[in-house]
Amino acid sequence: MTRDSRWAYLFIAPAVAVFAVFTILPSIATFGISLFDWNWLNMSRSEMVGAQNYLDMIKGATTPSFWSTLATTAVFVISMVAGGTALGLAIAMLLRKSNRISMFGRSAVFLAFVTPQVATSIAWIWMYNDRFGVLNALLQSLNGPRIDWLGDPAFAMPAIVIYSLWHGTGFTMMIFIGGLTSVSKELGEAARVDGANRWQEFWHVTLPELRPFVIFAVVIATINALQAFTQFFVMTSGGPGHSTSTLGLQVYQQAFVSHHAGYAAALAVVLFAITAVMAFAQQRFSRRLEQ
């Protein structure tokens, strides 16, 4: 080890220590607990059950079943990844110029991302209120229907997706605005000289140049959507029925409400595995595209 590398390790040691204590150790502990009927109030009362928690998960032994929550999670993830990426990119394209109006627009969109999710979720509950909410008032002023946004199983998930897009799109937009600054202007000009219209320029020049940023945005959106919890907990508590009961919410429900810490840990491990596999697959896909 060289003298320089020793200094390097010393400098990263605090960050590694924090990462180890708050991320790596809890992850290892969670996997260990998933093999137990765990009583965290009194650990001496925990019993080793091996893979039973995982078998219960596969058998769909709980209500709602693992498979039902997985399907609900998949709907949310797909909506957020597709919707969030497209919306973030579209807004970034609109606000790519560095004039005052664009800067104001960027700030306005990004502001939502830095607001606390609990507070804004409660505000959106009011906006979604089917009798007094501003959204239904707007719909009815346009002779639209009155929608029970959070009380109708058909609308509860779309309502949460809309809120989550409002909250998270600012971050995706900033990624793309950063990416757009690195897009070669010369290539765009060359395309226009060759007769490309705006859409063709975007599709054949800008988007391929943005590919690394798109991949990054998709990976981050996937991870965030898989682990989403706050908006589901505050806005619907997984209802009506189990229509918005996601894996993240079930981890909380099983651990803190039903006191099935071992099963919750098994769910958390599976959630971690799904997240890792998806992130890895997206990276592989990205590399293949680059080749």
Binding site: W40, L41, A255
Partner: protein
């Protein structure tokens, strides 16, 4: 923070802090002073100043004891934080607890039974019977001490409804009559998989007052009881007639305050908040719940206090003095009159402070009288989850996902699978 990380961190904090051996240290100093902690969720409205004032009076009367109030914003956070602290070997001396949480705490031997201390109590004998029953778990031991007790009442807009309905049938017809011109008679939150709420509890109360029940004598779910199905069907029919709306975040209070609802069926703890929502726009009536074919029924709500095992004898002695102080007739009368919660003993109702409250709130006497008959299902290991399953069934029926009988049959099947 994601739920995944929360679980992991709770566990690691538990392992690390337990290894450090922080629990069980004697907080009593050599000069005989003792410091205890009380974790609570009395953070809103008049609750917080009332609890702080009572604690200051206790500390003035017991100068060797200091009570540190550990405030949490709501019951859900309190439950999560409490479990995390216990897992971390850092239990408070006392905490507010919902009886359903107490099953796991007692089973894990992290709280202590209070029977020996209750045998010497100067206040226990005067507690109402419903309060005494609510202190016990199924093993017959007293694991809790009563604190902020409440029961359901009907709040109504006297401009829309002259007299409070006396029976559930009267209430249903009144709700239909008043539901016009943008008014929906009753708005309620039914809860769901993460917790039961007032609307679902009301279905149980209606069933009970008509001779049905959500649980049998052994605590096994009986959600497919015809009286329960009938009660849920009555809610579905009211909704179809536009007389009942389901929402979140205190929908009954919102609608009543906006003069878009005629009734709010909530506990007495909502009195202060309903008055604030109405803000003098009309006179709010308060009355006991309507009766069914078998008479009145009500559910004891609110929380108790549990004492934690991971504390020294000196701390437990000091904590017991604090509990006895809070339950004393004078203090309970102050607490009840300041917050709207119910006094837990007949002696408290005779105190001047509560007599003053009753002068302004004549309905309180009839509600307090129900404390001798009101019940809460004695919690068992499966009760909390079963109630959440029941709330999900109510939610399904009212959202049109299933009819009442099918939703309750499914809930019965799922809840029965939890019974051990």
């Amino acid at each position: 923070m994601s739920a995944f990380r929360l679980v992991g961190l709770t566990v690691v904090a538990g392992l690390v802090l337990t290894a450090c051996g922080s629990g069980g240290e004697d907080a009593a100093s050599t000069d005989g002073k003792v410091e205890i902690t009380f974790m609570h969720a009395m953070s809103g409205g008049a609750h917080k100043p009332a609890l702080e004032a009572a604690t200051e009076r206790f500390e003035a009367a017991s100068p060797d004891i200091t009570v540190n109030l550990l405030e949490q914003p709501d019951y859900s956070t309190l439950n999560t934080k409490l479990q995390s602290q216990v897992a971390a070997g850092d239990s408070p001396t006392l905490s507010q607890v919902n009886p359903n949480w107490t099953v796991a705490l007692a089973d894990s031997e992290v709280i202590v039974p209070l029977d020996e201390r209750i045998a010497t109590s100067s206040t226990y004998e005067s507690f109402y019977q419903g309060i005494k029953d609510d202190m016990k778990l199924v093993d017959g031991k007293n694991w809790m001490w009563p604190f902020n007790k409440s029961m359901y009442v009907q709040y109504y807009n006297t401009d829309m409804v002259k007299d409070a309905p006396a029976t559930w049938d009267d209430l249903e017809s009144t709700l239909v009559d008043v539901s016009k011109d943008g008014v929906v008679g009753l708005s309620t939150d039914v809860g769901g998989a993460t917790g039961i709420a007032g609307g679902s509890e009301m279905v149980g109360i209606i069933a009970n007052s008509n001779g049905g029940s959500l649980f049998d004598a052994e605590g096994k779910p009986t959600f497919d009881d015809p009286k329960v199905v009938e009660a849920l069907n009555s809610f579905v029919e009211l909704q179809e007639k536009g007389a009942l709306a389901v929402g979140k975040n205190y929908p009954g209070q919102q609608a009543l305050g906006a003069e878009k609802g005629a009734f709010d069926l909530s506990t007495v703890a909502a009195l202060e908040y309903n008055l604030a929502a109405i803000d003098g726009k009309f006179e709010m009536g308060v009355a006991p719940l309507p009766e069914g074919t078998e008479g009145a029924s009500n559910l004891i709500s609110g929380t108790n206090i549990a004492m934690f095992a991971d504390t020294t004898e000196a701390e437990q002695d000091a904590a017991w003095q604090y509990l006895e102080f809070l339950a004393s007739p004078e203090e309970m009368a102050e607490w009840a009159s300041a917050t709207g919660y119910l006094p837990i003993s007949s002696e408290a109702t005779e105190q001047p402070a509560y007599q003053e409250f009753v002068k302004e709130n004549a309905w309180a006497t009839d509600v307090v009288a129900q404390l001798d008959t009101a019940t809460r299902p004695t919690p068992r290991e499966w009760t909390q989850d079963s109630l959440n399953i029941f709330a999900t069934a109510v939610s399904n029926a009212l959202s049109g996902s299933a009819n009442a009988a099918d939703a309750l049959a499914e809930a019965q099947k799922n809840a029965t699978a939890l019974v051990k």
